[in-house]
Subunit: 355 residues, 3 copies
Amino acid sequence: MSVRTPSPKERRAYSLREIVARFGGEVRGEDSVIVEQVGTLESAQPFHISFCSNPRYQRLLHRTRAGAVIVGRETADLTALPRIVCDDPYTYFARLSAFLNPPVAVGSGVHATASIDPSVQVDASAWIGPQVAIGPGATVGARTVIHAGCSVGENVIVGADCVLHANVSIYHDCVIGDRVILHSGAVVGADGFGIAWDANCWRKIPQIGRVVIADDVEVGANTTIDRGALDDTIIEEGVKLDNQIQIGHNCRIGAHTAIAGCVGIAGSTRIGRQCKIGGSAMIGGHLEIADNVEISGAAAVAKSILKPGTYTALFPLARHQDWLRNASHIRHLDALAGRIRELEARLAEMERNPS
Amino acid sequence: MSVRTPSPKERRAYSLREIVARFGGEVRGEDSVIVEQVGTLESAQPFHISFCSNPRYQRLLHRTRAGAVIVGRETADLTALPRIVCDDPYTYFARLSAFLNPPVAVGSGVHATASIDPSVQVDASAWIGPQVAIGPGATVGARTVIHAGCSVGENVIVGADCVLHANVSIYHDCVIGDRVILHSGAVVGADGFGIAWDANCWRKIPQIGRVVIADDVEVGANTTIDRGALDDTIIEEGVKLDNQIQIGHNCRIGAHTAIAGCVGIAGSTRIGRQCKIGGSAMIGGHLEIADNVEISGAAAVAKSILKPGTYTALFPLARHQDWLRNASHIRHLDALAGRIRELEARLAEMERNPS
Amino acid sequence: MSVRTPSPKERRAYSLREIVARFGGEVRGEDSVIVEQVGTLESAQPFHISFCSNPRYQRLLHRTRAGAVIVGRETADLTALPRIVCDDPYTYFARLSAFLNPPVAVGSGVHATASIDPSVQVDASAWIGPQVAIGPGATVGARTVIHAGCSVGENVIVGADCVLHANVSIYHDCVIGDRVILHSGAVVGADGFGIAWDANCWRKIPQIGRVVIADDVEVGANTTIDRGALDDTIIEEGVKLDNQIQIGHNCRIGAHTAIAGCVGIAGSTRIGRQCKIGGSAMIGGHLEIADNVEISGAAAVAKSILKPGTYTALFPLARHQDWLRNASHIRHLDALAGRIRELEARLAEMERNPS
């Protein structure tokens, strides 16, 4: 596992024929064309293979300099370039990009400046970078890479094939599964926001649960996941968290749910499997979100959502002057509705007694 | 002060009789029952004492495996378990949990990998962890613990009995009181966002104030508090800040105010005492918020609030199709209101001149 | 370049006469008055020069203890204090403050605890602080200061006269221009949120672009800027980013745009030059924002904005009881509008056939 993509010298090249033999799809045009890297339609050069999955970028097909492209069946005839036609160009591109950009090995061992308690168990194939600190009783699995400046607390278990990017902090007793990626500045296991008003000040409630992160989770930069107050906070397998997300104590995020940046989820909320939550959404505490729920960006969720579907709450953007004129009526909507009711009653009365 | 909760071996057990002798309340059922830890109704085992303060969890009282529970007077008869009856079960639980989970000592001294300027004054009872950096002229008080990777700038004063979790950054000249907890990734004293447009570019305004944090404040993970432009940014005693909060330069947060995660407060705003601010709220700059104001989650505050009370601004969540149909009218509310006025005028005219 | 402002001993004092000789403007009152530091109207002492640019603080002119003030022409007669009269008091103050508070040199060299790969090129005039880690192939320019705990990845280029405050993380291959300031906890170059659904789980898409930051950019504390998926994420010259901002992969932020705290910008969005984006705004992905657009705080932007101007989307704050009564109607606006249409039709019918 590595922190970087292969340099040009480390890359290999493949013909379209070799690519469809491995990943399926059908070549149209010259199948001996050789590509070695993926690229955007806009910036690709002849050794790149590009893709087109978003209709808004179709116009770029005509002027791309890519050597080949990946397209869907409905787009197959919009270009004369050598192309791979498949059902889902974006997923095809994702698989191919992963194949062309395998992780680069970073070696194993412990950097001289790392501070590791003698009781820590580090697998011989793991790499512990400079300025890292690992507390007593922790475990680091096979081929895991811990980059500069990370802090791994007492008794933490980090699984195999994980990558902790620079300056990640994991508090005591938390558990990280296999193939987990934690980006820089992520904080796992800080105390939940547990306070009780006691006479004349807030009393802190000890947060004695843990954070347990299952396999194949990715946690974005500066995302924070608080430890449980009593029970654990749980991130199930395959969850993908973008940057700057806050997950409160005792939340449970269901398997394969994807959450975009800047989302806040208050304590004790349970989110189902395969949900998609848009950026800057906010979800209140002690709620239940069903499986397969999609929440639009910037929506605030104050009640449980028990049925799958897409949910939205977006104040329409307007020129400031228009907003000024329209938004003020929101403070009087109840009065407006009352005036409509009254008009209806008066009109009905006139219709009954026309003269 | 410590970074972890006591392990089972370090815990002691107490009878309900001993507990009420110490904390008040009344035992119903067998008062010799022994408990050693707090737990949720859902997960408790017989050596746990649980609690019920939220009506939505009352149904769990019937199937909990806890050895005892803490309940309010109105809930006292909903269970046959040995129980402590009191006025405020949540605060009772908070006190008991703090008693059962005292901080674990971490020792004192300076880790071999810490980098401490010779001019720094570290109390002999403090602990400076691995990979820490402390700049010239700084002071660290008695029993304070500074965990791995923290940076404490030039001339910073950190009081007694503080805990700085891993990878906290404090800029030069800031002042931290006693019993302050700073969670991982918190940044205290970065430059405020002070810029002035000067001909053809932004000119940076030196930020020469400090951040001054009073006693008993807790600052969540990845929360940022900017230093003042000229005067100081001030966090008064007992303030509790959750994760990912941004506090702009020259703000003053009144004593015992609690702010939930992801809140942003722009510069020079003053927030009163004992306010509660919900998650993801946003408060504009140069505002005044009175004491005892409660702001609901996700509300944007653009004007000062001079009277206590609860304030809300939440766009109602809806299924996306319903939102599409309804939200578009917001852009025309002023026209709708005009049509209602016109209908009223025409109807009044008809009522005056019926034929 | 330095991390602190000059101490009183390091400061020099200037007469108003010397100041206007350097910066322009006109003195009214005694021009031999000596000042040595800038201060607010509220807290200034006689050796301070203060300023008044915001009408809401004019009342403080009467009771300030400042030795002198900077005022606009329209305010020139509101005080009898020695004063500098100029066109734009805020910019004047900004220039003067920068002059009175020049950066303090911190010396050069590499701290003994820093970990620097032998292949790194560090200019002899740069300073690398304690606990820093710099990966193979990186370059650090002249007079640049890298504070404690920063991580600079493989092949990163950091220009001249930059300041990286404590605990900044820069991933491999990113490029930082000259005179760039990165505040603590900022993360540059973490993987963008690139995932594709593949059968039964999310597949990660390698993020092979970089982040390229141009000259004179400032990045706030805990702000994150993701690397591009294929092409680069680009921050043009003079951009000012406040704290806790998230910029998604492949965004381009135009020159001299200023973005306030807690803003989230989703991937592939292009923002024009000299825009101003208010705190906690949220901008969706794949959008185009023109030059000179101003977006109000807390607005969510879901469509491209092709014309300059100020745009707003703020749900009006209200007392909670008033909000309850009014907001519920938003879910029925379409029905309300229908009832108005129907009333209009029925009334028109009655007006046509009065009896």
